[in-house]
Symmetry: C2
Subunit: 460 residues, 2 copies
């Protein structure tokens, strides 16, 4: 039966597109576990939408579970693969089909690596604003499936806001082509929303039309010291209002995290360790000189008004690199941990200060926890926690989960702002979503994939 299915896949797709045996074992299921050989029945490497459709038709007919592999950078076990599963890996679908500088769109296959999209956009003086640490490996299909966020969501939105069109293949091989490069389309249901953020459980994305923006010509940044969380909010509102559209990032780093980021790695601290909160602001504009003057004037005003206590603006390109390396190089934190455990929670902006303070206090009193590091996209209501703990035990992991997740429900928060649910957070989904919501999600899954072959056991 299995042999027959593999034969059928080979004969319909071509032998080179269906890997088995040793060729499968030379692969892996996540960039962090490259040393562990992939266990899967086969790996299919489609070159086109037609290939994906054919592969799914055959798998569907055989009720064969399928796992979708992109750049394998997912943080929630979204690409974990079992021995009896077949992998569909999109890496050969890596073609940028069109860049249209007038429509300001790019049409890509789903296996294109995010960084290549950035470079192609830049070649036309355009910007695809979505960016995050794993941009050199992450494929756009996975980025869309995960509805990725990143550092400039405040200005440009999450992935969902940056995708104009999608082509996807349903579990039974049906191709849904909603690939228009128009900005507004109210011709009945917006089907692309089904595929964005559903982590490959409702269909496999094969192509997309991305929204680009005119590339900025200036960039300014500053670190700011504040002692009081309510002042952080005031400062956000003040900067957002005053900058009228050019504020592109507003990252918050708690004192202990800032200290670790600027001592454990190669970076020096731009500001002394005198403050409870460090804010890294960024503007993207068109004139470096006037934008820099404006930033400095605003920081001076904020100091005069006692909204902030100290500030240091980046004065050069190398300052910009220095400032951002501190924030972006989260590996410095992870590397300092005995064992690290990561979180990615979302909650209403006014509640972040108390939530973080209480969570840190509880965790750091807990047996087995060394430290709790907090930082994140505060203007998006999204903070990350990295817990330094003593071991990998399930008991400790779950005790920490409990402390981090349990207050969120009452606060109207979410257990995942941007990383998704995958396998790792399934047990906690009920803290973010009501039974009625989860029941409706199950009906959606059943409607889209009645046999349940797509990314089985993930998300729901």
């Amino acid at each position: 039966m299995v042999i027959k299915m593999i034969d059928e896949l080979r004969s319909k797709l071509g032998k080179n597109k269906v890997l088995t045996g040793q060729d499968v074992q030379e692969r892996y299921s996540h960039i962090w576990t490259m040393d562990q050989p992939l266990a899967a029945k086969a790996v299919i490497l489609p070159h086109s939408t037609e290939d994906v459709s054919m592969a799914l038709k055959i798998c569907h007919a055989h009720q064969q579970p399928v796992v979708v592999h992109g750049g394998l950078t997912n943080l929630v076990g979204g690409t974990k693969t079992l021995r009896h599963e077949i992998v569909i890996a999109l890496e050969k679908m890596d073609r940028i089909e069109e860049i249209d500088p007038q429509s300001r769109t790019m049409t890509v296959q789903s296996g294109v690596i995010l960084e290549n999209i950035h470079q192609t956009a830049e070649s036309e003086n355009l910007l695809f604003p979505l960016s995050f640490g794993a941009k050199g490996s992450a494929q756009i299909g996975g980025v869309i499936s995960a509805n990725a966020g990143g550092l400039r969501v405040f200005r440009y939105g999450v992935t969902r806001q940056l995708v104009l069109g999608i082509e996807a293949v349903l579990a039974d091989g049906t191709v849904i082509n909603s690939l228009k490069k128009i900005i507004k389309d109210n011709s009945a249901y917006d089907l692309k929303q089904l595929f964005i953020g559903s982590e490959g459980t409702l269909g496999i994305i094969t192509r997309a039309v991305l929204k680009l923006v005119e590339a900025p010509r200036s960039r300014t940044s500053a670190y700011v010291g504040i002692n009081d969380y309510t002042q952080v909010i005031s400062f956000l509102k003040f900067m957002d209002k005053s900058l009228a559209g050019t504020l592109s990032a507003f990252e918050l780093i708690w004192k202990k995290t800032y200290h670790k980021m600027t001592t454990a790695g190669e970076s020096n601290p731009p500001l002394p360790y005198d403050y409870e909160y460090y804010v890294l602001v960024e503007t993207l504009g068109q004139n470096q000189t006037t934008d820099q003057h404006q930033l400095i004037a605003l920081l001076e005003k904020a100091i005069d008004q006692k909204m902030i206590l100290d500030a240091v603006p980046a004065q050069s390109k190398s300052d910009l690199d220095w400032f951002w390396k501190i924030r972006e190089d989260v590996r410095v934190i992870s590397a300092s941990c005995t064992v690290d455990q990561h979180f990615d929670v979302s909650l209403p902006i006014p509640l972040i200060g108390d939530y973080a303070a209480n969570t840190i206090a509880t965790l750091e009193k807990m047996n087995g926890v060394n430290h709790c590091y907090t930082f994140g996209h505060m203007a998006d209501g999204n903070i990350h926690l990295v817990i330094d703990k003593v071991d990998h035990s399930d008991q400790l992991r779950m005790a920490i989960d409990q402390v981090v997740y349990s207050p969120l429900q009452a606060m109207g928060g979410s257990i995942s702002a941007e990383h998704g649910i995958g396998e790792h957070k399934k047990a906690y989904l009920k803290l973010s979503r009501s039974p009625e919501e989860i029941a409706l999600m199950r009906r959606m899954k059943k409607m889209m994939d009645p046999l349940g072959i797509l990314n089985m056991g993930k998300v729901l």
Copy 2:
């Protein structure tokens, strides 16, 4: 049977919430047909989500078709009601539950009128950016159901981008509460997307959390004259790039439309009738003086570069009102028509010039067509056409539909950029969406509303 159901509704909801007989006939189904009494079995006026849920439970048990009424400003027959249907009208659910200046959110019941949302936001120096002509009547539930667009989509997005949370009631009365006021939530499927833009066919929206932005403190505008459509695109890119985030509107008006708008109504023309295209630009910023200087400097540069031929900036608040009245008061066009027929199409920005030229040429040669007026949200790829024709005949209407709609499919356009499908455009949906897409939409409808009682016969 009917009497039993009405009795049940009355006993469960209270008599004052269930209108029948004369009370029904005193109502209407659209603000343009106030003289035509509403024909419906009953009108339910829920005061709460629980009321909507109870009403739908009862209707569902009786397989009773339901039509949702909001502000009745829909342009595609979305609130058309038949004698055997029951209306659920949201007007009593008009409470603004919370405005949170720190989260920059507003939580509202779905019957709140858009203009009240604007005013409440303003009272906290915030802005709900979505706006259009019918804001004094349109209710937010309908606005969201229609995924409305309007004049500032270029900067702030369509409704879909401005809704953080939704509570909706399914056909069987199940309440789906996804009402969080967080900006990022990747905890499984984003259910609110089901209800946004599905025109009330998948559930009745009862409450929403809206995203607000800091209110701008400056506003500038100008009319610009251009003869060549490719220069219109160049000018859009130039302004967008140079203004780095403050460009808020870029409206295009064709010569003939501009002439009519500035002769048939009360408004004088800000520029002479010398150009093929008139662009109305707007910026929203923080400093009136510097923003005005910047606008003028950019316009001068664009003239020097021969990108544009002429420009006149608004110099005062009354200029701003004058400039925008010309564009917004579309009734001037409609009133000049013998019979008017309206369109709202979407297509890739580079194709708009030729599409409009060819469509106008074909229509104006057609028997029964007097004039064709074109204008719209060019930066969103969305143009409106108003056809001045001689009669109401179906034959003429359909012949005009054919000319306007038939080129869109090959261009990757849409028959509806922002007004939706409703009843009026159902016959043409296949020109915007593939058979596979429509089949999937039908499965969605079936999954959400198996008995098909919600807004029956609309959209699909």
